[in-house]
């Protein structure tokens, strides 16, 4: 897109340096020392805090004794995306936040990095830990190839199901491939994990959109059960003047470019404003700084206290010298000859807390001001992509577009199960994995039950 002014290009080494792993790999000695610090808790708090219930002390003990392959098996048994999770999980809010060492007044065990160390060990060496179960004659389709579907598919394939994954995107992996910051995980890391799922016999059909390219009737005829793991979609629009200008884009589209294009080809303004203050907004501003943008603003209607990004994500942005404009509401985007030139904003004051305890921002009269920018990125949440499911009888959608599913992840139409962002409204990879696993158990139990019933009827 033609921008008014673009950021200066960096050297290839500078790009690699700025997008280098923020939690680098451990070597064997580092891993052994860190593993030795673990107390080997019983009924461990870290495991309880993990949505996929990885036996953390179990795998750390194995690393300590040099049984790294066994460690990887413990992890992947509970969470097939153990590698991605080791890199991208908000561990401070999950396992590491629960680690009793914190309570003891010491640093939490670096569970995420140890996990990654163990799984990398087997992926680097192409060690095959799991195999497809002997075929049980049942077929399951997964819509979407993100973490939820990958986890569901792997669990079912190990039980002997024939699983086919359909995804409308070019590459498999969902947001693991397209969405997560490049300094946490790269496209190739995600695809390496997809290969592991493929090795279980799972068939991937990319660039196939269910509801358009394949009908539900067709799916239902061919498969015994269908898992819906379609995640969320594009970024919401803001409905302000100037949104059509060159240089305005959604966070998802911007981040996707940083993932699939070589860094120098990602077009990036010299001055950028990102609107929103969630984890995605942090990913946008940090990526922008790392791509060479000189001035990066994070514009948020409420105050620092209300921001939804995790504290350490906030910290990342601070370290990248992002300018935070709190209590600032965008009013319109200014342009010249079709390109962005500025963002007009108004100051806000926070009203009393509403029913959910959130304080709503009120514009302060006469406080308009303009920031000089070449690019505006919207990071105000993702739209649902579940509208197409209205064609399926029995599936119920909430007002926000999320799919209603029970504790076994079964929807109102018993043949359909669902999990991940499209059910929980947008959470973390590890939640999608946990839900995919739970759905796999639900599918297996339901098919066992119905086929048993069928047998009894005969």
């Amino acid at each position: 897109m033609p921008l008014r002014e673009t950021a200066p290009k960096l050297t290839p080494e500078q790009y690699e340096e700025s997008f280098a792993d923020i939690t680098p790999r451990m070597n064997a000695r580092q891993a052994a020392i860190e593993a030795a610090r673990c107390l080997y808790c019983f009924d461990a708090a870290c495991t309880i805090a993990c949505p996929t219930r990885i036996d953390v002390p179990g795998f750390i003990k194995r690393i300590m004794t040099g049984n790294t392959r066994g460690a990887a098996r413990v992890i992947l048994e509970a969470n097939i995306l153990g590698q991605t999770c080791g890199r991208v999980c908000p561990t401070e809010a999950l396992c590491e936040g629960a680690c009793v060492m914190v309570e003891k007044g010491e640093e939490a065990i670096e569970i995420g990095r140890l996990q990654r160390y163990a799984v990398d060990h087997v992926l680097d060496r192409n060690i095959r830990l799991f195999h497809a179960g002997s075929p049980n004659g049942r077929r399951v389709a997964c819509i979407g190839s993100g973490p939820a579907s990958l986890s569901c598919a792997a669990a079912l394939a190990r039980k002997g199901y024939a699983v086919t994954i359909f995804d409308r995107a070019e590459l498999p992996g969902g947001l693991s491939t397209y969405g997560i910051a490049a300094y946490k995980t790269r496209v190739s890391d995600s695809l390496r994990e997809v290969e592991m799922v493929k090795s279980l016999g799972v068939v991937f059909k990319q660039k196939v959109e269910i509801g358009r390219d394949i009908s539900f009737a067709q799916l239902e005829k061919e498969f015994d059960a269908i898992f819906i793991g379609v995640g969320l979609g594009e970024t919401w629009a803001m409905d302000i003047e100037g949104e059509e200008l060159e240089g305005v884009c959604g966070a998802m589209e911007f981040i996707e470019r940083t993932k699939v294009l070589p860094f120098p080809q990602v077009s990036i303004g010299k001055r950028i404003a990102c609107i929103g203050a969630g984890n995605t907004a942090i990913d946008v501003v940090t990526a922008a700084r790392r791509l060479g943008a000189e001035t990066v603003y994070l514009v948020y209607r409420r105050s620092e206290k209300e921001m939804s990004a995790f504290p350490y994500e906030h910290e990342l942005a601070k370290n990248d010298e992002v300018i935070f404009l709190w209590q600032t509401q965008p009013v319109r985007i200014l342009g010249d000859s079709g390109a962005v030139t500025g963002l007009e904003c108004i100051r806000t004051v926070l009203g009393p807390p509403d029913a959910r305890g959130r304080r709503s921002p009120e514009p302060i009269p006469d406080s308009l001001f303009t920031i000089d920018v070449d690019m505006v990125v919207r990071a105000v949440g993702q739209k649902p992509v579940t509208d197409f499911l209205r064609a399926v009888q029995g599936i119920e959608l909430r007002k926000n577009g999320t799919v209603v599913a029970d504790a076994h992840h079964q929807t109102g139409n018993k043949k359909y199960f669902a999990g991940g962002d499209c059910v929980n409204g947008g959470s973390e990879v590890v939640d999608a994995v946990a839900e995919g696993m739970a759905a796999a158990r639900g599918i297996d139990a339901w098919l066992e039950e119905t086929s048993g019933a069928a047998r009894r009827e005969n």
Partner: protein
């Protein structure tokens, strides 16, 4: 400040810290540097007919990332000619008249040879002699070292030979590789020994390389048993020192696992007059003595002990036979909820390894939350069931979190011996 000077069978040492016979006391240069660092005495690396050592010759056991929790060697006595050692002893004594140099000797079991080496050591100016009856490997296969120290009669006989020629005190160094160390200590005393030192190293094999199936230490793919020492053997040494302290009247040099001043103080409390150190000096160098001196005198000041004699042997009367312990003494475990971090190690230890008297946690917990707002799972002791074994207190990773509190059941002292006598 406390006076650390010690009298040991007639000779005076500036402090109770001596280097044990071993690699740190191989040469005059080392011993003089050690004296500069503060060591009171040094037992010279054992002198005898020249031998050849192997390479490698050491093995270590690391534990949870800490190096050399245990150490082992298959080294023999000094591989230098006796005349070089004697000449250097003379040199050291000339320059460091205040510090003690003790000549450690091990020669073939012939009366004349022992007489000859005793004379040569004393001519060189050694302050005392230590007879090495303890080396568990190599020399024992040649009828020396522990093959003498394991037979009370030989120990008594050879001690007698040394005494026939000696004008300086004779210390007999004992091996722990016996069933009853006091028998050998008594034999040494009977043979005329002026003191005993213990322990020498413990028979051991350090491990197996699981790829090559050779043992450790590895000498061209083969290995041999050797002597174990370092922190791991301190409990063995303390037991033997205390039992010898009860059995003999002559003074004791305590050896085994001394690395800190606290280790030394424990040896002394169990009856040792001086301590000897080998592994810790090999691991960290001579400078470790600085803290030993400092720490011990600070401790003595705090307790009003003017000399080590003020507390030497004080713990000995408290070391009893099992049959003399009070069977009615009762303690139970007590968890301090404010300190507990919720690791549940006490629970699993008691459940699987003791007496099933800890409840994992009341689901409501104690209301304690970690910084992330998650509940801390504090276990609960079922006091009525607790047998007071104290396993839980030992596994708890938090200092002071589990303590054992005494329960007064109003029962009188009763030992097993008393009970048996009544029946």
């Amino acid at each position: 400040m406390a006076d650390l000077r010690v009298k040991f069978c007639g000779i005076e040492s500036p402090n109770p810290f001596w280097l044990a016979s071993g690699p740190p006391t191989n040469t005059a240069g080392q011993v003089m540097r050690a004296f500069d660092a503060g060591w009171g005495g040094a037992v010279w690396k054992t002198i005898g007919e020249r031998i050849t050592n192997t390479s490698s010759r050491y093995g270590g056991i690391d534990y949870n990332g800490a190096k050399l929790m245990g150490f082992n060697n298959i080294e023999l006595i000094s591989d230098r000619p006796p005349e070089d050692n004697f000449r250097e002893i003379a040199e050291v004594k000339k320059r460091y008249p205040e510090n003690l140099v003790i000549a450690s000797l091990m020669v073939e079991s012939k009366r004349e040879t022992w007489h000859e080496f005793v004379r040569r050591a004393e001519d060189a100016g050694a302050d005392a002699l230590e007879l090495n009856f303890g080396c568990p490997h190599g020399m024992s296969e040649r009828g020396m070292g522990s093959s003498v120290g394991q037979v009370p009669e030989y120990t008594e006989m050879i001690t007698g030979w040394a005494k026939e020629a000696a004008k300086t005190p004779v210390i007999v160094k004992l091996t722990p590789n016996v069933t009853e160390v006091t028998r050998v200590a008594l034999a040494a005393e009977k043979g005329g020994a002026d003191a005993v030192s213990l322990i020498n190293t413990v028979n051991s094999l350090m491990g197996v390389d699981l790829e090559t199936f050779s043992g450790r230490p590895n000498v061209g793919g083969k290995s041999a048993h050797g002597g174990y020492c370092g922190p791991a053997i301190k409990p063995i040494a303390l037991h033997m020192v205390s039992s010898v302290a009860k059995a003999v009247k002559i003074p004791i040099a305590g050896i085994g696992g001394v690395g800190y001043w606290t280790d030394a103080a424990e040896h002394i409390a169990l009856g040792a007059s001086v301590v000897q150190v080998c592994t810790a000096a090999m691991h960290y160098g001579f400078r470790i003595v600085e803290d030993m001196i400092d720490g011990l005198s600070g401790y003595m000041d705090d307790h009003g002990f003017r000399s080590t004699e003020d507390f030497r042997g004080r713990a000995v009367p408290n070391i009893k036979d099992w049959g003399d312990l009070d069977l009615n003494y009762k303690i139970v475990a007590d968890i301090r909820q404010d300190l507990c971090i919720g690791c549940q190690l006490c629970y699993v230890a008691c459940e699987d390894g003791a007496h099933q008297c800890i409840e994992p946690y009341t689901v409501a917990g104690n209301g304690k939350k970690n910084p992330n707002g998650m509940g801390v799972h504090v276990p609960r002791i079922i006091e009525d069931e607790c047998v007071g074994c104290n396993l839980c207190a030992l596994v708890c990773p938090v200092d002071q979190c589990i303590s054992m509190k005494q329960i007064d059941e109003g029962k009188p002292f009763e030992s097993w011996k008393m009970r048996a006598a009544r029946q």
